[in-house]
């Protein structure tokens, strides 16, 4: 039994993920990628992770997708259309099919098919205390990583001035 909302979200996410890679224009690909992120946020909301869904919308759709879109528009040239995939296409399709079948069979044969939905759920207000107590070291490291990444991005983007 598949819920209608779940099926719609799955179709949106998977089709736009394919479209992100296969669209003729990279700009359309970037927009499709943003749509795929929105679908994932819908899955998070469906899994009762409401805060994470908002986080995904803010960071992924609001920041990363827009950043990608800006970059695509900034460096767009017609010659991109001439980049051809060639011989790697078959290898890519074969690898994807093998991975999908292998992992799919693994999931199908696992004990997770018996995992039943439960009605009890954790409030998202636990998230803040958990991050600030158990994972405080990861949080500090993450802030350093983010700061250095942003500084590095600025330095890289100004490379031409040297």
């Amino acid at each position: 039994m598949v819920d209608f909302v779940f099926a719609a979200l799955a179709i949106i996410t998977i089709v736009s993920a394919i479209l992100a890679l296969e669209a003729k224009e990279v700009v359309y690909g970037a927009v499709a990628l943003a749509l795929s992120f929105v679908g994932i946020a819908g899955f998070f909301a469906l899994l009762d992770a409401v805060f994470l869904a908002m986080f995904q919308l803010t960071v992924y759709v609001g920041a990363i997708a827009v950043l990608i879109l800006f970059t695509v528009m900034l460096v767009r040239r017609e010659q991109w259309l001439k980049i051809k995939e060639g011989v790697y296409r078959t290898a890519g399709v074969v690898a994807a099919v093998i991975i999908a079948l292998g992992l799919g069979y693994l999931v199908y044969a696992s004990a997770f098919t018996h995992a039943t939905p439960t009605l009890e759920q954790a409030p998202f207000t636990l998230l803040g205390p958990l991050i600030l107590s158990d994972y405080w070291a990861a949080l500090v490291a993450l802030s350093l990583v983010l700061a250095s990444a942003v500084i590095g991005a600025v330095v890289l983007a100004k490379l031409e001035r040297d």
């Binding site: 999931v107 039943t116 009890e120 991005a153």
Partner: protein, 104 residues
């Protein structure tokens, strides 16, 4: 909210992962490869949240890990896009098979 069986989420995640691997193997456009990496990260995040919802419904550990993962993905996208911009300025091209400057 009543839920799907867990395997459906896992199947969606597996399909997204396969799409991401396909893009990573196939594409030579650096931006498309970045798209593929983002799709891979998203499928992993979906697994985190789905597993914690079904197997540990009273904890939010998976959501915390997914939050860290999303933040790391943001940093990775920033650096990756800056590298693509720099390479494009130097070479007027983003074809990764043509970028051989660091090959030993």
């Amino acid at each position: 909210m009543i839920l799907e069986p867990l395997v459906n989420y896992l199947f969606v995640s597996v399909v997204l992962f396969a799409i991401g691997v396909y893009g990573l193997v196939t594409k030579k456009n650096a931006l498309r490869m970045l798209f593929a990496v983002e799709i891979l990260i998203n499928s992993a995040n979906l697994n985190f949240v789905a597993f914690t919802r079904y197997l540990h419904p009273t904890s939010v550990t998976g959501q915390a890990l997914a939050m860290f993962s999303i933040s790391l993905a943001a940093a990775e996208a920033a650096v990756g896009l800056a590298i693509i911009l720099a390479v494009f300025r130097l070479r007027k091209d983003v074809d990764v098979s043509e970028i051989k400057g660091l090959r030993g």
